[in-house]
């Protein structure tokens, strides 16, 4: 079974190879890329396309590797012991399985997404090395070994806030989602807004890439922002001429709030609009 993108996700050729290679060799796949290029969505779509169970583990700055395996709820056991609860004699009552445990014991090999691994402490990936390699771990409290019956496909995303340790990288396949070119972008828009009028999309894309090329923008709009903006444009049912007008006084794209997320960028854009208006005179 091969991943070829879905009706809502356009996968480039190199991405497909990376996903399929990771699946064939049962190694984790590390996905990096600018925000808004569809890193997280990829895992969901792979799961959907292959009809597999999807397990998501969101990492925060306080997340510990152990939490993904299991947690021993010592406090509630202590409390139960004070209350004389019978549960207290079996320690396994207080072992809470984490997301990796869940993925290892699934009936069919699931897709496990470890989202934004770089948010966690710098040692986090190292703590998961053995677990991801052998797909098994040992529960000290109950002296049992949890081993994956079917090795899950692990997809890991990173926003590059922290460098990942070499030993970790060696074990992964790596894919960098670069910003899509016009052609791919048209496909992506097509998939998300099939009812959009062709002309509207073409004009909007042109404006979008123009905006991206404006020098000095603090944050360039990304794919997800383009999709939002298109949704807005369509719901507003703007006349097509608005987008196509070459009149510099209307240089600011309509509903630009969806594209430019930074006050300074909006100012910059307005200033550029003002300048070009003056040049025309």
């Amino acid at each position: 079974m091969k991943f070829k993108g879905t009706d809502t996700y356009v996968a480039t050729e190199d991405l497909m190879i990376a996903v399929n290679a990771a699946m064939t060799l049962e190694r984790p796949l590390l996905i990096k890329g600018a925000p808004g290029t569809g890193k997280t969505v990829l895992a969901q779509e792979v799961a959907r396309a292959l009809g597999k169970q999807f397990i998501e583990w969101n990492i925060k700055s306080t997340t510990k590797a152990q939490q993904g395996l299991y947690e021993y709820d010592a406090v509630s056991r202590l409390r139960d012991s004070q209350l004389g609860d019978d549960k207290v004699h079996d320690i396994s009552n207080y072992i809470r399985p984490g997301k990796m445990w869940e993925a290892f014991t699934a009936d069919e090999s699931p897709i496990l997404l470890i989202d934004e691994i770089d948010k966690a402490d710098i040692e986090f990936p190292n703590d998961l090395l053995q677990e991801l390699d052998r797909m098994e771990f040992f529960v000290y409290e109950t002296q049992q070994t949890v081993k994956a019956a079917h090795r899950p496909l692990v997809i890991i995303t990173s926003n590059n806030e922290k460098e990942l340790p070499d030993a970790f990288l060696r074990r992964c396949f790596f894919h960098y989602i670069s910003f899509p070119d016009t052609e791919t972008m048209e496909k992506i828009v097509d998939v998300h807004h099939p009812d959009a009028k062709r002309e509207l999309v073409r004009d909007a894309l042109k404006i979008f890439f123009d905006v991206r090329e404006t020098p000095g923008l603090k944050k360039k709009p990304s794919t997800s922002e383009l999709l939002d903006w298109l949704k807005l444009l369509m719901s507003e049912e703007l006349p097509e001429e608005v987008l196509r007008s070459k009149d510099p006084s209307k240089l600011i794209p309509p509903l630009h709030g969806a594209l430019l997320k930074n006050e300074q960028d909006v100012h910059l854009f307005e200033r550029l609009a003002f300048l070009s208006r003056r040049e025309q005179r």
Binding site: D14, I17, L25, N160, E161, E163, F174
Partner: protein, 392 residues
């Protein structure tokens, strides 16, 4: 199988290991690439490259190692030039001209030249992957049937296939050293983290709770402890004015990144070399300053010292009393530098001037010597090394 490729990658300082090479072979055996060069390229990239800053290096090595074999193994590549040829034919060639082309080595030769030209153009300027060849320089002009040159790229997809993916070198600007964004700086600075538990007790200390509960004859006694925080302390001195004006942007980025990264960050400005005065606001440098002695006494030795400056000045400014360009300094800059370094053992100098120019400026050499070689260029690579030095 691809041993030469593997070692060329290593030579080009792409960090590859045997383990990854074996993975690649394993993946090939499992049929992940299905015998097309493009697929092989993608597969090799996903197994061997683990950081986007190495993608460009990888593309170059790949283009170098596998140059010339793609026409034999990839059918799709051959078709494309034929498409171009059809377009060329539309340009009304006379039979004589066609014969002339044959004489020059035929279409294949022509297409080879075209490929070469595309590659050269890629190398020379970054953005130029759309149009090739204008008047005069185009190989086609030389053959004499299209003085304006052949424009390729009207149809994006065809163009894309013609230029091999790796020859496009799309990842050029992700390559290391050149570009400094605050994000990259922050990543480099993360190396400087030192965790310690300070402040309000908010986290459950399980070990302590169990211990004290046991001591308490089984009655639950919860113990809390503070969360871990980054406690590294940093003192940054920025050279400002004069020759540093060229590097304002890089310094700004460094400063804004450092500011969010470190809780205990102190900064001061100086001009060219550290003397008896430092200041916090450049506009009021003559009225509100801080004697360097006070700075040295205020911040204890566990601060890490980062000096940012181009160290480009007259050697007198470092070596002699009275050498400063703006005021009379009683003591030589050298003396002040030594004083600082005696207190702050963890110290580095970051120089925004590219490393290759350092040798041409005597003062840079002197400063480097004073810093006992702990001078690093203000690039991602340099910053990383500097942070490594500081956290040693």
């Amino acid at each position: 199988m691809f041993t030469k490729f593997f070692f060329t990658l290593k030579e080009a300082s792409v960090p590859v290991t045997l383990r990854e090479y074996l993975t690649l072979i394993e993946a090939l055996k499992a049929g992940c690439a299905e015998y097309s060069v493009n697929d092989f390229y993608y597969l090799a990239r996903t197994t061997l490259v683990k950081d986007e800053k190495n993608l460009d290096k990888f593309d170059q090595v790949f283009g170098h190692c596998f140059n010339g074999i793609e026409f034999i193994s990839d059918g799709a590549e051959v078709e494309i030039p034929e498409e171009w040829l059809k377009k060329l034919a539309e340009l009304s060639l006379t039979d004589e001209e066609k014969a002339e082309v044959e004489a020059m080595g035929g279409w294949e030769k022509l297409m080879e030249t075209l490929q070469e030209r595309l590659k050269e153009q890629e190398k020379r300027h970054q953005g130029g992957n759309k149009w090739i060849g204008t008047a005069g320089k185009s190989p086609f002009g030389a053959y004499g049937y299209n003085p304006e040159g052949v424009r390729i790229g009207q149809k994006e997809s065809r163009n894309r296939k013609a230029v091999k993916v790796w020859d496009k070198r799309e990842y050029k600007n992700l390559d290391d050293s050149v570009e400094l964004g605050t994000r990259n700086i922050k990543v480099a600075m993360k190396r400087l983290r030192q965790f310690a538990r300070e402040g309000a007790a908010e986290e459950l200390d399980l070990d302590d709770t169990i211990r004290s509960t046991a001591r308490n004859a089984g009655f639950l006694d919860l113990k809390m402890r503070p969360e871990r925080h980054n406690t590294v302390k940093v003192l940054i001195l920025f050279d400002i004015g004069g020759s540093m004006d060229d590097h304002i942007k890089a310094c700004e980025e460094l400063f804004s990144a450092a500011r969010t990264e470190f809780k205990h960050l102190e900064f001061y400005y100086f001009h060219n070399c550290v003397y008896e005065k430092l200041w916090k606001e450049n506009s009021r440098r003559h009225t509100s300053f801080m004697p360097t002695w006070d700075v040295l006494h205020t911040y204890p030795a566990d601060y890490k010292l980062i000096i940012v400056g181009d160290a480009t000045m007259s050697p007198y400014e470092i070596a002699y009393a009275g050498g400063s360009v703006e005021h009379w300094n009683e003591e030589a800059g050298q003396a002040w530098m030594e004083r600082m370094l005696n207190i702050y053992h963890k110290a580095v100098w970051l120089n925004p001037v590219p490393e290759k120019y350092w040798d041409y400026t005597p003062s840079v050499q002197m400063m480097k010597q004073l810093m006992t070689d702990r001078m690093y260029p203000l690039t991602i690579g340099g910053l990383e090394n500097a942070m490594k030095e500081l956290s040693r």
